[in-house]
Symmetry: C2
Subunit: 478 residues, 2 copies
């Protein structure tokens, strides 16, 4: 048992040090490893399988809305990055520059894409001629590079994986609809698949994307009360089109600028899965996204018939579930601890006594509840149980999130709430960046979003006391 305990005891508890708990989980659940390039992570099989499932599910949802996948170059010439003023100001300070190719210095240096608006614009400029060429609804799955100073696995790394959608439309209305549609795709994906409840809303001017007219976001609340921006969708209006000269002839043969959007979701979301659902024994994965949904653990597997029965169970289940058998030499206790660390939603224990009774034991990862189940019912019971876990995980995350939303009507309430109950703070805002700056400087909280569901919880700005314009969700964020 000493050995079994070691795996679990070597995680710091959440209560003691949340940041260390997070680092322990990503390592011990074998999601990532550190590489010899500072700030770049190695995504190990368990982490990458999670990303593959995210890709598969999200890509399917994208394609249902008419998205087509493409691939743009990794490099952006400096002159191209410089074309849209706000955009370059936002990104130039944090890009990596290629200056040499082969044996010689490049005539123009190339940045490794931090995001690909400029590449898509350069392409659309030639590819779009007529209204018949619109809309363009393209997306790419790729890695991007941002030269961050402080890095943390999944949450902030110098290279990360993501998808970036880039669309071009004939008019402003269609661009706005697409911006909102993709935010909704993200929100539904998070809630239905990842069991993560999100607040949907618009970013303030201060927090919007470099070059965007408007940025929309889904914001999730982590277990420690910090917010995580989990996906964003931007409406560019015709700003990029004017900077790059992307025009089309409309049905009246008049030249018009296109209206554009972009939207992205990254491996950051894996950080959200960990910090919304995890516990002191490790990861807890929602069944809909778990690479392995069920681990069959034979008990006293050296006894005759046990392994055979475990394998039989596997054969019965494999058509309907992502199931594995742990028939390694490790002790059952060690196997349990590993299954828990890796967040596999259900463990099935089967030993000689179970076999005698024609049953097995299903154990939930999230609540640790155990259910004795007749072997003849196992498919139906497991199906029911996985659905229950998925639903319960969402409800639990939502209850936690909701219980960590405080309303503040003035600045002292705001600061008190932030101190006493870390989470989202709902507070009215006058619309001035000065108040956002002051709040950030004095409390480290930022405006997370102006939620789509607005309410007038007070008449005055939570910071300056002047007349309020918008309800804002505030919070400390990753």
């Amino acid at each position: 048992m000493a050995k079994d305990k070691k795996l679990v005891e070597s995680i710091t508890s959440m209560q003691e040090d949340f940041a260390q708990w997070y680092t322990d989980v990503v390592k011990k659940a074998e999601l990532i490893d550190y590489s010899s390039v500072k700030g770049c992570m190695i995504i190990k099989p368990a982490g990458y399988a999670l990303w593959e499932n995210i890709q598969k599910e999200l890509d399917r949802r994208f394609k249902e809305t008419g998205v087509q996948n493409v691939y743009m170059p990794l490099f952006i010439p400096e002159s191209l990055l410089n074309k849209e003023k706000d955009h370059v100001e936002g990104f130039a300070p944090e890009v990596a520059w290629v200056t040499h190719g082969g044996q010689s210095e490049l005539q123009e240096k190339l940045c490794v894409r931090p995001t690909s608006e400029t590449l898509f614009c350069d392409f659309y400029k030639n590819d779009i001629q007529s209204y018949r060429d619109l809309p363009k609804v393209y997306n790419q799955w790729c890695s991007v590079v941002r030269w961050e100073k402080e890095t943390r696995p999944f949450l902030r790394s110098r290279e990360f994986l993501w998808q970036e959608g880039h669309t071009a439309h004939a008019d402003a209305k269609e661009a706005q609809e697409r911006t909102e549609q993709m935010l909704e795709v993200y929100a539904k994906f998070c809630e239905e698949v990842l069991a993560i409840p999100v607040i949907c809303g618009q970013k303030t001017e201060k927090e919007k994307f470099a070059g965007a007219e408007a940025t929309y976001t889904i914001e999730a609340l982590m277990h420690d009360g910090k917010a995580l921006q989990s996906g964003t969708s931007h409406n560019f209006g015709d700003g990029f089109a004017k900077a790059f000269g992307i025009q089309y002839t409309d049905t009246n043969n008049q030249l018009q600028y296109v209206h554009q959007t972009s939207w992205g979701l990254s491996t950051r979301i894996i950080g959200a899965i960990i910090m919304v659902h995890g516990d002191d024994s490790g990861l807890v994965l929602p069944p809909a996204i778990a690479p392995t949904q069920v681990m069959v653990v034979p008990i006293q597997q050296q006894k005759e018939g046990v392994l055979e029965k475990a394998n039989e169970l596997y054969e019965t289940l494999k058509a309907d579930f992502r199931v594995k058998v742990d028939d390694s030499e490790k002790s059952p206790g060690w196997k349990f601890a590993e299954q828990e660390m890796r967040g596999i939603p259900v463990r099935i224990e089967i030993g000689p006594k179970d076999i005698e009774k024609g049953q097995c034991v299903l154990v939930r990862r999230d609540t640790r509840e155990k259910y004795q189940t007749a072997l003849s019912d196992v498919t139906a019971e497991l199906d029911r149980l996985l659905k229950t876990i998925q639903a319960d995980m969402f409800e639990r995350a939502k209850a936690h999130r909701d219980s960590h939303i405080s309303d503040a009507s003035d600045y002292s309430e705001f600061k008190e709430a932030l101190e006493k109950k870390p989470g989202f703070i709902r507070g009215m805002w006058c619309g001035e960046q000065a108040c956002e700056d002051k709040i950030k400087e004095e409390t480290a909280a930022t405006s997370r979003c102006m939620p789509f569901e607005q309410a007038q919880i007070s008449d005055v700005c939570v910071c300056c006391g002047k007349p309020a314009k918008k309800l804002v969700f505030w919070g400390k964020a990753y």
Copy 2:
């Protein structure tokens, strides 16, 4: 009709200029576009959909053999690239260097991965401790960068997409088996899915991968008689393990070096699909990989009931086939030319007269044969037809390939064959690099591989006349 013809006539014929025909097809079939970064291509929806199907099918076959996917960083520190002598000599001359991150110069420059052996080795060095950690059978899907001087879409570009598998094993035997197993996966994939026959064999010392003990290859023959190396699998022995210090304790508690392999297949294979199957009307895609297998083209679609019937047909077929309806305003002739250019395997024509007779017309892309088919039989007929096309395409490609293999017993025969019937030349070889060098210098042909199926077609080297050791396939190559 003038407009319809334009699309087709604007392709150069193969006969006239094969290289220009290729360039025309990749552009007109909308597979790629050129980007503003020299030598980097934009893969458009039709090209990327092809790559997605290749990925899906190959990834499934990989996973059946126990492969797990991971993701390694994009960057390799210079010191890491330098660790294995042969490897760095092979790659350093053609890498892109990142020298600046954010606002400051890097302490150590980073190359953008041209291939990831060094990163995997650096990772395995820590990740592998005991025989229990073996084997590691990892793969990643990513892009790599090689600073080529001359570039051509898919065939040779500065950035390309690929998969690279990297494995570590306890002993030499297992590594050799994995090397051969993955070559076989490639060969079967090419033959069964892409309808491309390949020659499997081993590369000579001169042609093997930088740092490998042995390199195996699948070689395909293009329509112009040139060979294309379409996938490679390398056995590294313990060379990299010794350079990087990757050791494990075996069952006797002795330290041992691991044995490693790597294997890769890239977007280059799309070039092979084009050049093996294409014709003067454009692409011809094998049904198993075609993003759209069937295009329904309504004839006289303005007439009552035609579009409805075309859509009905679509509804009938969509569960079993990748099918689309072209209900655009273009003329049928234009639609036919587009469907042919894009290589969609089957077109279904349906007009008022067909509807009257309860039939439609199936047209094969590869042979242009037409089949009148009762609407009630269309699912079964289409299924049969697509299978026939797939099989016929392979047989045709194989017949072409086989009719372009010549045997040469001396150097004059060799040169004559190369002149008169471009293709593979089978010729015995003494084993000396001097002969390979001479042949390459004087004829531009290279040793493609020493085929697994050896034969003694003569006793002496085709170049120097000294005693022969191996049968070699020679040819000019992309």
